[in-house]
Symmetry: C2
């Protein structure tokens, strides 16, 4: 029998207990041992909850109990999670976590400590909720050099953009609806400004490229400036607007960004709608593979944490190799990366095309019948720096959205 | 250093050698050891090929060399692959294979032998080419009881159906084109009759449900009867026709089939087009996850074999638990499973609806303007047995296609 402790009895923590109790028999079989939840740590009381008998308020009870071999940290936030996790690993306990802030900030260090103690630090649930992506990256795509990872990594913003796309609604209207439905937080900044997606692409990039990526170094643009008018254009050319987190290796340079992009229907992520997440990985011999599923939610996230617990049981005294060194990966300035741009401008195409093409070279004009005082165009592929330079020569630019093929 | 041998220098075998040589450095790092191809077994000679120096014609050289710790079997077919693989495992060598016939027929037995010798029998490449699906099923979705697996598992038929759908072409025309492009074999029976997909869903079902599924027990219907007229209806209601391999647990019964089905655009597999494969897995706590990518091809398949080699190196003296007992899984007769059906009938809806609804109950009529002497209808959900019973009371039925939501 393997004893585990669950740190935090919030949404994910109670999900972990529920998943283990629901599928106890099959989980034990797959782990090859019986898994027993010996403690749940939470500052609160839960009178009447079956967890009451194993609830503790003092982390030291768990830390100092040599019978606890695996700790599931599902509290969220960096403090005190970091201290708790570090102490557990140093005591020779494996740790499974759903905590993206912790993994993004201290992943490389915690992996190193786990390795030194021949234990494991696992974090499948930190990206993509229930979608298996961390373990496939570490254990399945090992024959490949990863060249590119592109993800729809945040369900809240994908829900908002999907609704705007399909129903022609304004951003504020859909955000409010998402808040009422519980899909968006009352303070939605972390989601709509792209910070959540940014932490996740930082984690994926660190794993894909084997070096530490700081999320502060990733260019991040949210979806708050995307309007219903943008979608009129997008729909007219069969495109969707999605919030991508992307990391890419081109020659020996690494690029990464989070930003809304236009994609057409042939893009594998085009049909990832609603609260779902999708992650597209390109390997140099494999080509493209995509992983799709529920990117959040109590039970899907808990399922991922429990799959880590099973893996930790199967590798109790063996460190599973995960390439993520503490050396920093240098991210090249986004200004040097190239793509096409969709640009909305005021005025009439007939009057303005000469000036625009003088700045941008040949462009493709898009008109939407009901929009009489503006039009849009799509540039050829150019660097972000060249785009800014050209854009400075054209007045009346309303907005611009990057295009991904 | 770990020495390996590659059995077979055909498409996949030469791909394995190419992948290891291309990504040697990163593969060694991920495996934690240097991987050395000591032998390649093939009856043929390859003058001028760099593999010449390590080519052997006698399997015993490999079998009796204690330095060879891992064997990659990429010859295909059951004989002599089965004898070779069994002998290797009994000699204490781990085996990685891309051979779906072998895995389908002898998977349970070979896994047992591997376990007895504390070695591994791995077969990521046997289903879905380069798509990670076997390892995610075994190692990632361990918190869940799998309730359903649905796959587009054969690239050839998906290419044909996609072309028919998008270009309105007839089956024979597209098949010929696919043959000319090398996407279909000169003898296409295994693909177009669904036998290839059937072996693959048998493997997935065995892993998902932990017991041995014989492909002979799975109802299998190919795509040869699907016509361009079927697609006129499908397109008119925003549906595609896909060849699904499906295995499902309902209460305590297990169902499995391979057949063409109509799906609408909200189905996650709807947009899996061309030669791509997609596999949708439903877990009881996780919900749906989908895996998508190249289901065949030299390098993607080789990438999957090499990922198994890396895994075998990481678990050199440890058996990785894979639940697939030799106990047979009882598959319930498809006649007892329920779904909706799309049915084409000759004549005019006005004249015939009363007879049809007497047999089927309320149906939804579909008309396509250019088809003046026939129409179609969609039934409510009913068992296959009830469908056959009702259909026997309606004359002039041209065809029927199952519908999946």
């Amino acid at each position: 029998m393997i004893n585990i402790a669950v740190l935090g009895y919030g949404t994910v923590g109670s999900g972990v207990v529920e998943v283990i109790r629901t599928n106890q028999e099959s989980i034990n079989k797959k782990a090859g041992q019986d898994i027993n939840i010996k403690y749940v740590l939470d500052l609160r009381e839960f009178p009447g909850d079956p967890v009451m008998d194993i609830l503790v308020h003092d982390y030291n009870v768990i830390l100092n109990d040599p019978e606890v071999e695996i700790v599931a940290e599902v509290m969220g936030g960096v403090n005190p999670a970091y201290d708790f996790v570090k102490a557990a690993l140093e005591k020779g306990k494996s740790v499974c976590t759903s905590n993206k802030e912790l993994v993004e900030k201290h992943g490389a260090e915690l992996l190193k400590i786990a390795k030194e103690h021949n234990r494991n630090f696992l974090f499948e649930a930190s990206v993509g909720g229930g979608i298996p992506i961390i373990r496939p990256l570490n254990q399945s795509l090992t024959a490949d050099e990863i060249t590119e990872i592109t993800g729809i990594l945040n369900g809240t913003t994908n829900y908002i953009l999907t609704k705007m796309c399909q129903e022609g609604l304004a951003f504020d209207t859909v955000l409010k609806e998402a808040q009422d439905l519980g899909y968006a937080e009352r303070n939605p900044e972390a989601d709509v400004e792209g910070f959540d997606a940014c932490r996740k692409i930082a984690i994926l990039a660190s794993l894909a490229f084997g070096k530490d990526v700081d999320y502060e170094n990733i260019y991040t643009e949210g979806i708050t400036k995307i309007t219903d008018v943008d979608f009129k254009y997008a729909n007219s050319i069969g495109c969707a607007v999605k919030l991508f987190g992307k990391a890419k290796k081109v020659d020996d340079k690494f690029y990464a960004y989070v930003a809304p992009v236009m994609v057409n229907s042939t893009h594998p992520l085009y049909s990832v709608n609603g609260v779902f997440n999708g992650i597209l990985v390109n390997g140099n011999v494999l080509g493209d593979v995509m992983f799709y599923g529920s990117g959040a939610g109590k039970l899907p996230t808990a399922s991922a944490v429990v799959s880590d617990i099973v893996d930790a049981v199967k590798h109790l005294n063996t460190n599973v190799i995960i390439q993520w060194s503490s050396k920093k990966l240098e991210i090249t300035d986004i200004k040097l990366s190239s793509k096409k741009f969709f640009v909305r401008v005021s005025g009439q195409a007939e009057d303005r095309l000469a000036q625009i093409e003088e700045a941008f070279g040949k462009v493709q004009v898009i008109k939407v019948a009901e929009l009489t005082d503006e039009f849009a165009f799509i540039t050829s592929e150019l660097t972000e720096a060249a785009f800014e330079e050209a854009a400075s020569k054209v007045d009346g630019i309303i907005t611009r959205i990057r295009i991904e093929d």
